[in-house]
């Protein structure tokens, strides 16, 4: 035990003497949270929609008043007057405006006559996000215009009443579990992967191998140290990320305890996986090359950004054996749903079994000689 604690002591002292290492392993996930969270999570605002009015009747005026209301309130778009449909189409094509709505001649008359009135909507569908947002906004405006002025006493249409179990989750909060998992992964990759191979290349391990330390003490010493570093990163990111994302729930003692359990289990799993991958590697370039590949291979199939249900079958299989899947599922269950230990028990079990199994496989593969 004394020899194992010496390995842990050495690793931790080295870690705390390298502030750049700590900053880098925390900075990247935080940046990812802030940049991706804000880039993908926000509503579309400030777009421009050209209005070509060939009608000028009362219903056209009503429609334009609705556009003005949107521009002032939810600010999805503002209307720009066009005299010619051709010019409006050209400006959509060249990107001067994002869409154009055409109010045809006789539009008001057809509305009053209930003679299938139509509005033209020219949209730049090369940008799926903006076009979807504008189409959605226009559809709700049209639905509002179609609604009868006096509501019938008994409605005949079917209505879906949505009950949301949890408070509104914006994309920043949705990404927080991924960010915490990513911080742990980076810490393991740098602290457990790159530094381990660098130490091997520098001959530090040669120094260990001539001492009476056993294979078990060496493997577990290195892995416990790696897991401690990942736990520290995970806890720091949980606190900082929660403050950035506005998730105060994390400071509840029970939530914090659940998070800590999951962070420890996740750190053991990540570290075991990394040690198994690196146990026979000697070239310092290998972990650097693997960093990006593993990031894509493990993070994206985990359901961190998109639900696993939308994946093809082979990616769903990958997500089943991916420790990221369970770390992120567990974090989401705690942070976004307050699911308690019941919701994360399978995640904890998988991560612990995965971590211990990888370590048990890696230990005999570890060479006690050069």
């Amino acid at each position: 035990m004394n020899r194992m604690s010496a390995i842990i002591e050495r690793e931790m002292r080295k870690f705390f003497r390298s502030p750049m290492l700590m900053i880098m392993s925390l900075m990247m996930p935080i940046l990812q949270l802030v940049i991706i969270g804000n880039a993908f999570g926000g509503k579309i605002v400030g777009t421009h929609v050209g209005v070509v009015d060939y009608d000028h009747g009362p219903q056209a005026v009503k429609l334009r008043e609705a556009f003005d209301a949107v521009a002032v309130n939810i600010k999805t778009f503002s209307a720009i007057e066009y005299q010619s449909e051709v010019q409006a189409r050209e400006d959509v094509r060249t990107g001067k405006i994002d869409a154009a709505i055409i109010i045809p001649a006789q539009y008001s008359r057809r509305v009053y006559a209930e003679d299938a009135p139509k509005l033209g909507f020219v949209v730049d569908n090369s940008d799926l996000f903006t076009s979807s947002a504008l189409e959605g906004e226009m559809q709700s405006l049209v639905d509002a215009l179609n609604a009868p002025v006096v509501q019938p006493r008994l409605t005949t249409t079917i209505a879906l009443e949505v009950v949301e179990l949890y408070p509104y989750v914006n994309y920043l909060k949705y990404l927080l579990p991924m960010t915490v998992a990513l911080a742990m992964y980076i810490s393991v990759m740098i602290g457990g992967g790159m530094l381990y191979i660098d130490d091997k290349a520098r001959g530090v391990h040669e120094g260990y191998l001539v001492t009476p330390i056993t294979k078990f003490e060496l493997v577990f010493g290195l892995n416990i140290a790696g897991a401690i570093k990942a736990v520290l990163s995970g806890v720091c990111l949980t606190v900082i990320g929660s403050l950035v994302a506005g998730l105060g729930v994390v400071f509840h003692p029970m939530i914090l305890l659940q998070m800590l359990c999951l962070i420890i289990a996740g750190s053991i799993a990540f570290n075991g996986m990394m040690f198994l991958l690196m146990v026979r590697v000697d070239d310092p370039l290998v972990p650097r090359a693997m960093f990006g590949i593993l990031n894509v291979l493990l993070l994206y199939p985990s359901g961190a950004m998109y639900p696993t249900a939308s994946f093809p079958k082979w990616m769903q299989v990958l997500s089943v054996v991916d420790p990221f899947t369970y770390v992120i599922h567990g974090f989401k269950s705690i942070l976004l749903k307050d699911g308690g230990f019941t919701a994360i028990k399978y995640d904890l079990a998988f991560l612990l079994v995965f971590g211990v199994s990888t370590l048990l496989i890696a230990t005999p593969l570890f060479k006690r000689t050069l």
């Binding site: 604690s5 003497r17 001959g203 120094g207 009476p212």
Partner: protein, 347 residues
């Protein structure tokens, strides 16, 4: 192999000292490549034993087998009475090892580096502090105890490595090229320190080196290793005496001539002639003064001019040439990579 190989230094009573390291018919193969071939030698307690040879000769492979770092392919190595293949942990407990590279943690202090190794060697808590203080004193690093390793000079870092290898008070000390990369002043300081350690701690030391001077000044006995073979073994004096000539005459003729080697070899007392190029020759002779006179007379009779002429005693360099057929320094400067010829260029 030299005839002196089986003669061990005696202790004060005249009786042979106990053997600390015994290497018996040891081989190391990497696939088809034989890095060490059937090497035999013994090191007695309290002795400083040197493995001398160029880079790639097999010195580090030998030391790595003896320190349990790599498995032995064939043969046996007994260190401190323990077989390195059968009882590696027992061997590790009684040896100290200084690797070729400087591997102390730069981010840690001198004390922290030593403390971690004291724990790795299971030095009891009660004597850990005393042991660290003693080794720091022995390597003159006491006042640098709390300095970060990265602030130390190369020589001081090497001394820290030596202290690290001594922190558990080993009986046998292995040093793999302990002065490589050090400036001459630091190198001499390390030699003095190793001699002091030998005297005060009764350590058996086995070191590898490619510095002739280091082997000559530091080692009680030297084994010359070349291409995985042990080609000579003995004390520095024995090895020098084993070379047929007692003196080396270095002569440089103004004009090079293919006939010079034959003329020089024909002189009385000359045992070998080594052409060094551009009219420069190293002549091994039994009598330096007589050969010098003969060379001067020969040059005068032929109307040739001598650019330089000097006489010196046999050195380990000459011993190395004698046993391996080439100079050690030739091996040191051999390029690792040479540019391929330019296409179309004349050789």
């Amino acid at each position: 192999m030299s005839a002196a190989s089986n003669q061990f230094p005696a202790n004060g009573n005249g009786a042979p000292r106990p053997v600390a390291i015994a290497v018996e018919h040891i081989w190391k193969r990497y696939g088809d490549f034989e890095a060490v071939k059937d090497v035999n030698f013994s090191v007695t307690e309290g002795e400083i034993f040197g493995l001398l040879g160029p880079n790639g000769a097999g010195k580090s492979t030998l030391i790595r087998m003896m320190t349990t770092l790599i498995p032995v392919t064939k043969g046996k190595a007994i260190v401190g009475g323990h077989d390195v293949s059968k009882d590696p942990d027992d061997v590790r407990r009684i040896i100290g090892v200084i690797p070729q590279a400087l591997t102390s943690d730069q981010d840690l202090t001198v004390y922290e580096n030593l403390s971690i190794y004291a724990k790795l060697y299971s030095v009891p808590r009660g004597i850990r502090e005393k042991s660290i203080a003693e080794v720091l004193e022995a390597v003159d690093l006491t006042e640098w105890r709390d300095a970060q390793t990265k602030t130390l000079s190369g020589g001081m870092r090497r001394r820290l490595e030596i202290a690290r290898g001594l922190v558990h008070n080993p009986r046998i000390f292995f040093l793999d090229e302990p002065t490589t990369g050090l400036d001459p002043v630091s190198r001499i300081a390390v030699w003095e320190m190793l001699n002091k350690l030998k005297a005060t701690r009764n350590l058996t030391m086995l070191l590898t080196t490619h510095y002739m001077e280091e082997a000559d000044k530091l080692c009680d006995r030297i084994a010359i290793v070349d291409h995985g073979n042990l080609v000579a073994l003995g004390t520095p004096v024995e090895l020098k005496n084993s070379v047929a000539g007692a003196n080396v005459v270095e002569v440089k003729f103004d004009r090079d001539d293919e006939a010079w080697p034959g003329r020089l070899e024909g002189m009385e007392g000359v045992t070998s002639v080594q052409p060094e190029g551009s009219g420069f020759y190293r002549v091994i002779t039994k009598s330096g003064s007589k050969t010098t006179m003969q060379i001067v007379e020969l040059a005068a009779s032929l109307g040739e001019t001598l650019t330089s002429l000097s006489v010196q005693n046999t050195t380990l360099d000459d011993v190395f040439i004698h046993y391996t057929g080439r100079q050690l320094r030739d091996e040191q400067v051999k390029p690792v990579f040479s540019m391929p010829p330019r296409p179309g260029a004349r050789p």
